[in-house]
């Protein structure tokens, strides 16, 4: 079974959160994006879990290569080191000035072409969404472009045979189990669990591995097709919403007095 995992480099979301909390997050008005000074870049955590899903298939006896594909980014070596350490066999870095204007749809075009170029995939795995823009577009769009099914928000993927996987999806009030004929795209959610910590040997071996760089021409994707979607949907502003902060603190006395005050207040407001 050939497994392709799609991975994205993003600013570390824990650090972005911490900056936002501390009121230190800033927007660069010229590029309409967050300022990245002091914010580490790394692989989207949901995509790391997609590699983990591939590794669990391997642990269960599924044979075949696990390839990681990623578009652009500013520190691709770091991303691929991480991918190799987590267990990927091959890495493909899709890098070309023609990709600069790609939005999610453009990125999906690049990835679909790259998957074709490297000989196709039986199972395409990726995170449910990027923790930067939270859009969740790439997985389903790659599936649509390859004309194959997409099963989203999975917490478990098991091989039923070489041709079929059984996926447990997380749905709003429970779970859904589906069997899907390959090839297919499956997007992975955090419920899959934490990826394994790479053993020291794997970390060491990963340092010697290199990803293969591929350009637009090499994968045969039309640069115009890659950029047109991003030209039609333009980011014109980015801002940090201001919070009103009109909290009335209830105090005076111990927990019992405060509890009584709050209960009384909520009763007066007709809330309880």
């Amino acid at each position: 079974m050939k497994i392709a995992v799609l991975a994205k480099e993003i600013p570390d979301s824990d650090i972005v959160d911490a900056f936002a909390w501390a009121g230190r997050l800033q927007i660069d008005p010229t590029i309409k994006a967050i300022r990245r000074e002091g914010i580490a870049l790394g692989m989207n955590a949901y995509d790391e879990q997609a590699i983990e899903a591939a590794m669990r298939l391997r642990d269960a006896g599924v044979k075949g290569t696990i390839s990681v594909l990623s578009v652009g980014g500013t520190a691709p070596d770091k991303l691929f080191q991480r991918a190799f350490a987590l267990g990927a066999d091959e890495g493909y870095h899709l890098a070309d000035p023609a990709f600069d204007e790609a939005d999610s749809v453009g990125v999906a075009h690049i990835l679909a072409a790259a998957i074709r170029h490297v000989g196709g995939a039986d199972l395409v795995l990726c995170g449910r969404q990027g923790s930067d823009y939270d859009q969740g577009i790439v997985g389903p769009t790659v599936a649509a472009l390859m004309d194959i099914p997409c099963i989203s928000i999975a917490r478990d993927v098991k091989a039923v045979s070489e041709k079929v996987v059984r996926v447990i999806r997380v749905i709003p009030d429970g779970e859904e189990t589906v069997d899907v004929e390959l090839p297919a795209v499956v997007t992975i959610s955090n419920e899959l669990g934490t990826p394994r910590y790479p053993p020291a040997m794997a970390l060491f071996a990963a340092r010697r591995k290199r990803a293969t760089t591929l350009t637009a021409k090499e994968i045969g994707v039309d640069p115009a097709r890659v950029s047109v979607s991003g030209q039609r949907v333009r980011r014109v502003d980015m801002y940090i919403p201001e919070l009103k902060g009109k909290c009335e603190f209830l105090d005076g006395g111990g927990p019992r007095e405060v509890a009584a005050k709050l209960a009384q207040r909520l009763r007066e407001d007709g809330l309880i």
Binding site: D17, A20, L25, I27, K32, I34, S104, V105, D132, Y133, D134, Q135, I137, G139, P140, T141, A144, I148, P149, C150, I151, S152, V170, I171, P172, G174, E175, E176, T177, V178, D179, V180, A184, E191, R232, V233, R234, R235, V236, D237, M238, Y239, I240, P241, L243, G245, K246, C247, F249, P255, R256, V258, A259, A260, L262, A263, Q264, R265, L271, I272
Partner: protein, 331 residues
Amino acid sequence: MSKSILIVAEAEGGRLVRMVSDLAAVACGLVGGAAGSVVAALSGPPGTAGLAKELWPHGVSVAYVAEHPLLGELRPETHARAAAAAVQQAGPSLVLVGQTLLGRDMAPYLAARLNTSVLMNATELRRNSSGEVEVVCPVYGGSVRAVYTVSESPATVVGFQPGVAVRGEAVAGGARQGQVVSVDPGLGGFQSKVKLVNRATTAGPRLEEARVIVSGGKGLGDKKNYAYIEDLAKVVGGMPGASRAIVDLGWATRAQQVGLTGKRVSPDLYMAIGISGASQHMAGCSTSKVIVAVNRERDAVIFKYARYGVLGDCLEFLPSFIEECRKLKAG
């Protein structure tokens, strides 16, 4: 500017889903009540056309209906084909999709089939002073807002999160009778590659419909203390919720998770107990009418959202508060 806006009207189990009226309200809001400018794509198994009449009171004037036995299953591959056929026939300037379980995947599929662009998680749709359509989307877990201008030719597909768009009511002046146009979903020869093995959902009341929600976070300190949250919820006639942190720890179930990747709720009263107020959590509850926060940290972000705040250890506060509420309820 005379072109229409098309909403994808999802039907499940022979009923329109709740988001349909919200999408219709968003569309009506943008066209400013111009008659004949909001249309819908409706797809489902044979017999679905009968639901079209429920769209008219919401300002929809034409329903493009695709019926096919395969559309009884809520799969994006098939419903995107049906919606694409409707869009090609209607020629709208925008396509709005509700991010239900189906819509979340269907919107990108539909955009790919139409060879157009797509934006998800929209919370606002408006026309700017230059007449362009602007879409606002929360990004970085809700810490930041991004504003986009979107193409109307070809029409951009815009996905809306449930519960964040305006609550749609029947609109005054909504047509009493609309037009049903039947479209071919183009599913001849389509072979489904996906087989549903099992669907297990918890029965009973849903968090999204609760008037009062009491949610617990890591400030509870231990799994056993979640019992306080359940007790309090019961006493005040609400439902217990949870932050993702404690769902990941196994203190509460996934169905109770409020936030970006959990439930979007908007109750009259939301009590956040031992929850710091990370943007990913607030993305699921910040539209609640009244938020009460109990937290030990004076600087916790949750207090910026809260109407009432209690500064202190939630474990010292909860037993007294449960008792006070019980007294009030009894009295």
